[in-house]
């Protein structure tokens, strides 16, 4: 049985019934006609579907992940497709052209029939919409097909012709070949991209990533707190305490405090304002403004008692038995500031046993307080037991502190575990994560061992832009070629400069080294004068006083001994070792 070959277009059969001489429509006119139709119909369709579009726009900005948005979007797309299908099919069937085609003098003809049938125009429009949805790639066939008939024209047995005098001659064979290959390449790329994209979606769906995203987007509260909060605990009290203990980031505290302030009960408001004052602790004015609001919200709360203590600088109030976690942490900090490390250790042990969420803090502080109390071996044991279970950052923090204390305790050619651990830890990040404390510790260790394994160049990142630290390191390290006079001059400048110019840690370290190196009564007296004006009598303060006291005894400096007598009662609970650095994170 032989079927007639319908795929071949015979120009004569298409136009034989017409008196006019039709020509293939130029690509430019077809593109312009399409743009004209878009300009004409898109406002009309928007008007018809305005209610849906209004809701889509609103949902897009308010709840883009909701089912409602997806449904509305689907409805909108379906509405446009349906309207396009109907308009296009009807216009082509009725007039042989859409308005765009009409004004650009184009006409759609059937190859075999006199007049287009509605089935033909509907089929053509359906395929046209499908091609549009497939990134419009099939439209580009117009550039390669001999008679400018892309898929929808061939399938519906139609052809677009122009009524203008000059028609199109069709593509050059080379041009057609080039476009075909280009289309093939684009299709392959899109197919590959689509496969990878679907793979990603599948992976996300199976691993529950979408649920996680949804929670993160809509959750006001901080997940780091949620995992530790217990029934009888005030959530915000826990958040503040964890923040003060260095367990959570400041963003976490901010979102928790905001949530309490905007949604909380009266007693929670007090904690909310207190949290804000802690958040803005480096902005004195704002911090005080928030502290002032704490007692207005709830005069009977623990937050109010603590806020009043901070406002009136009544430190003894902080030491009273605390019912809140924040109160307990502040109490520990106050014991530390007063040099009462025994009480601080007791409180840390109690906190560790009673509350979850302070593991990092209690582990680190236990090691430090044991060391400060002179229970060196116990501190080393606690360090060994906890170090391996810590996160890398906490490992580095604790190792830095202990390394510095070890070196300070005995400066000799010895391998200290904390220093070795610290070096291993920093090596993994090529020393880019080194802190001021770790750098000073390692430089001092290298000096004690007279080793030159570690070059200062490795610490370029932290030294850049930190002039005071750089000067201290150069004054300490034999790698610098500074004279001893220059080293002393630099140490003096760092020791007695204002705290606005030199960080506290660098200044305290410079003061200690200065006392060791100069052994000069003038420097000691000047330093003593500075220390007398300091409110905090913490570990470092006590260490410096101890050093001065040793110096006075050793060198028999009478003037220094007299000055020391005046503040002797303040020297208590200290071991006979020389401590090194700050105690609080």
């Amino acid at each position: 049985m032989v079927f007639q070959d319908l795929s071949q277009y015979s120009k004569d059969s298409a136009v034989s019934d017409s008196t006019a001489s039709f020509r293939i429509a130029p690509v430019s006119d077809r593109v312009l006609a399409f743009c004209f139709d878009v300009a004409l119909f898109s406002p009309l369709f928007t008007l018809i579907l305005s209610r849906i579009f209004q809701k889509i726009e609103l949902r897009y900005y308010t709840d883009p992940g909701s089912l409602e948005f997806s449904v509305l979007l689907g409805l909108g797309v379906f509405g446009i497709a349906a309207l396009t299908l109907f308009t296009q099919a009807y216009c082509l069937w009725r007039w042989g052209a859409t308005p765009g085609k009409y004004f650009f003098k184009l006409k759609v003809l059937s190859i075999n029939e006199k007049k287009l049938t509605f089935v033909q125009t509907t089929l053509r429009s359906i395929l046209w919409i499908l091609e549009f949805c497939a990134f419009g790639l099939a439209f580009f066939e117009i550039l390669s097909q001999k008679q400018r008939r892309p898929l929808h024209d061939r399938a519906a047995e139609t052809m677009v012709v122009t009524l203008k005098i000059q028609g199109d001659q069709g593509p050059h064979p080379l041009e057609a070949h080039f476009v075909r290959n280009l289309l093939l390449m684009f299709s392959t790329v899109i197919l590959l991209w689509g496969t990878v994209f679907i793979g990603q979606i599948y992976r996300m769906a199976t691993q529950g990533e979408f649920k996680k995203m949804e929670l993160e987007e809509n959750e006001f509260l901080c997940s780091a707190i949620s995992t530790h909060v217990e029934k009888d605990q005030t959530r915000l009290d826990l958040a503040i305490a964890q923040f003060l203990a260095g367990e959570i980031e400041e963003d976490c505290l901010l979102s928790e405090s905001d949530f309490s302030l905007w949604t909380g009960e009266k007693n929670q408001l007090a904690w909310g304002y207190f949290a804000k004052s802690i958040f803005y602790q480096f902005d004195q004015e704002k911090s005080n403004e928030y502290l002032g609001k704490v007692c207005i919200s709830d005069r009977t709360s623990e937050a109010c008692r603590l806020a009043q203590a901070l406002q009136t600088q009544n430190r003894n109030e902080i030491l009273k038995a605390a019912s809140s976690l924040t109160g307990q942490i502040m109490q520990i900090r106050e014991f530390t500031n007063r040099g009462d490390f025994s009480s601080a250790l007791k409180s840390v042990t109690k906190l560790s046993a009673s509350s979850a969420g302070f593991e990092k803090y209690t582990q680190k502080q236990t090691v430090k307080y044991l060391w400060m109390l002179g229970r060196k071996e116990e501190a080393a044991g606690a360090y060994m037991n906890t170090w391996k279970f810590m996160a890398e950052q906490d490992q580095a923090d604790l190792a830095s502190w202990l390394c510095l204390e070890n070196v300070n305790d005995r400066c000799e050619n010895k391998n200290y575990k904390a220093c070795n651990d610290l070096k291993e830890n920093l090596k993994e990040t090529s020393y880019t994560t080194a802190t001021t404390e770790s750098l000073i510790g390692l430089v001092m260790e290298a000096e004690c061992k007279n080793s030159h394994d570690l070059s200062l160049i490795s610490f370029q990142k932290i030294l850049e832009g930190n002039e005071s630290l750089k000067n201290l390191v150069l004054a300490l390290s034999s790698e610098s070629e500074w004279s001893s006079e220059r080293r002393l001059a630099s140490l003096r400048q760092l020791s007695f400069d204002s705290e606005a110019n030199v960080s506290r840690l660098v200044q305290r370290r410079a003061q200690m080294v200065l006392l060791d190196k100069s052994k000069n009564v003038e420097d000691s007296l000047k330093l003593l004068e500075l220390l007398r004006g300091t409110e905090k009598h913490d570990w470092v303060w006590q260490s410096l006083m101890q050093k001065i006291s040793h110096l006075a005894e050793k060198k028999n400096y009478a003037a220094l001994a007299i000055e020391l007598q005046k503040i002797k009662p303040q020297l208590k609970n200290t071991s006979n070792r020389i401590p090194a650095s700050e105690t609080e994170p």
Partner: protein, 298 residues
């Protein structure tokens, strides 16, 4: 891009009143243009302040506690469009972070004071101050160079063509009355908003609609441009009524299709008001007035 070319850009001798209108718009724009006015928008552009505004607006609307995070944008946008909120929020009591709220209120008062000094607030059509003089002055104010340029090009094309048909003074009358119809559209169809309405768009819509109706049986030249490649730009002869689907349906669709909470920065309602007036006046003019003055038509 497609727009009517009609008779093209006519010279001042042919259409003196159209050019006078254009110079007047340009002159007033130069006098009133304040490039620094965008700086006071910092009050709303700061992310934290915007979120706080949204939270406060949520309470202002009767909500308790906090809106969902995904709703913050919507409430923030609605707050900016709510004249009542902006005018009264500093007098209201809100629940929440009182320190931040107090600072926000101070910022709001400062912002409002800055706002009152802007020429666009003084001479533009404002929901707060319904001064009758602004019904006229707003028609000659523009927000920026692009706004002015777009309006003036269309004014030159359409007002020029209308002036050739009905004369200069009649054109001025249509311009002003269409602007007043724009006021009517803006106040009756639009949502209260903080931003004042300025621009010749309402008047221009009236003139365009007038022309489209007045010359409805004609075919006029439209210029189209898709790309500088040959064949993708040129002229096209279309019926005059095509101005309606190409330009005015967009305004109507945008009016109905845009969520009122979000706003769009374009006063579609004023366009619609001007268009309705232009349409009606065009029909009346053609039927009643034109036959009385054949000389002007020629």
């Amino acid at each position: 891009m497609i727009f009517p070319w009609l008779k093209g850009f006519l010279r001042a001798e042919a259409i003196p009143l159209t050019w006078t209108l254009i110079f007047l718009n340009f002159f007033i724009f130069l006098l009133s243009y304040d490039p620094s006015q965008h700086h006071s928008a910092e009050f709303f552009s700061d992310q934290k302040k915007f979120e706080l505004t949204a939270k406060l607006y949520y309470q202002f609307q009767g909500g308790e506690d906090l809106p969902k995070k995904s709703q913050l944008f919507s409430f923030g946008m609605r707050a900016l469009h709510d004249v009542k909120f902006i005018s009264e929020a500093d007098q209201r009591e809100f629940k929440g972070d009182q320190v931040a709220i107090q600072r926000w209120k101070e910022d709001l008062v400062r912002f409002r004071n800055q706002l009152d000094l802007r020429p666009s607030q003084v001479f533009g059509l404002n929901w707060n101050r319904k001064a009758p003089l602004t019904w006229i002055t707003y028609q000659f104010m523009h927000a920026g160079w692009l706004h002015l340029f777009g309006n003036m090009v269309m004014l030159l094309i359409f007002a020029g063509a209308v002036e050739m048909q009905i004369g200069g003074f009649s054109l001025i009358l249509i311009y002003l009355l269409s602007g007043l119809a724009g006021v009517l559209g803006f106040t009756s169809l639009g949502e209260p908003t903080l931003a004042p309405m300025i621009g010749a768009s309402g008047s221009l819509s009236g003139i365009m609609a007038f022309y489209a109706v007045y010359e409805r049986k004609k075919r006029v030249r439209f210029f189209y441009f898709l790309s500088p490649v040959r064949g993708f730009f040129g002229h096209l002869w279309l019926p005059t009524w095509m101005i309606f689907p190409l330009f005015f349906v967009t305004d109507i669709a945008s009016y109905f299709g845009t969520a009122s909470e979000l706003g769009s920065g374009v006063a579609y309602t004023a366009h619609i008001g001007g268009m309705i007036f232009g349409l009606m006046s065009g029909l009346l003019w053609k039927k009643w007035i034109s036959p009385l003055s054949p000389s002007v038509q020629q």
